[in-house]
């Protein structure tokens, strides 16, 4: 496995609470991505980062924010969780071009 960890691996929270998911890599890759995976939709890009403090929005960024203060860490924050954000969240890293992405083990988030 590429050196990617995600924490927590499972989380149950209530509507309206803030949630932060962490992605940590030991590969020193420049690019990091957050995806969500839902039945029938496949993987959809939420936000991505192309360097420390450099981030951009993906396809489904509403309700999410990200931060990257160090090369190895990429945080995804749900400011006020909603039930529609119940999903499996995957972090991915890439050394350069986006066609070679390596995924973490995922975080299963349930918003009640």
């Amino acid at each position: 496995d590429a050196g990617i960890t995600q924490s927590p691996r499972h989380k149950v929270t209530e509507t309206g609470t803030p949630v932060t998911l962490r992605c940590h890599q030991t590969e020193n890759h420049r690019y990091m991505y957050w995806y969500r995976q839902d039945p029938g939709h496949g993987l959809r890009l939420i936000h991505y980062s192309y360097g420390v403090k450099d981030t951009d929005k993906g396809e489904v960024s509403d309700g999410y924010s990200v931060s990257r203060s160090k090369t190895e860490d990429f945080l995804l924050t749900l400011e006020s969780a909603t039930s529609s954000q119940t999903s499996v969240y995957f972090c991915a890293i890439s050394p350069g071009v986006p066609n070679e992405q390596f995924f973490g083990p995922g975080t299963r988030l349930t918003v009640l």
Partner: protein, 113 residues
């Protein structure tokens, strides 16, 4: 119409069968085509990727791209129970850092011993 379409299955085959997994797409700008394998409750892992049209072989796996038809395929020869997983196709316009990868919804495959 979604940018990338993939039959979700489930697809069930006997051990040893040849499996064909397919995706169609609508964006003619896509140049890089990838296949990922995802076991249950795990992250996707990159199986192989190809550039533009043509075939690429890696062991029991062959990826085929037909850009004129906007159609890609993954063939698995001598399928094994360990191949049981969801297969995701993915594609992106080019090799630059800012190009987004678009994933298909995945096809669930079961190989029966």
């Amino acid at each position: 119409q979604k940018e990338v379409e993939q039959d979700p299955g489930p697809l069930s085959v006997p051990e040893g069968a040849i499996v064909s997994l397919n995706c169609t797409y609508s964006n003619s700008a896509f140049q890089y085509f990838m296949w990922y394998r995802q076991y249950s409750r795990k992250g996707p892992e990159l199986l192989m990727y190809t550039y533009s049209s043509g075939n690429k072989e890696d062991g029991r796996f062959t990826a085929q791209v037909d850009k004129s038809s906007k159609y890609i395929s993954l063939f698995i020869r001598d399928s094994q129970p360990s191949d049981s997983a969801t297969y995701l196709c993915a594609m992106t316009p080019g090799g630059t850092s800012y190009d987004k990868v678009i994933f298909g919804p995945g096809t669930s495959l079961s190989v029966i011993p």
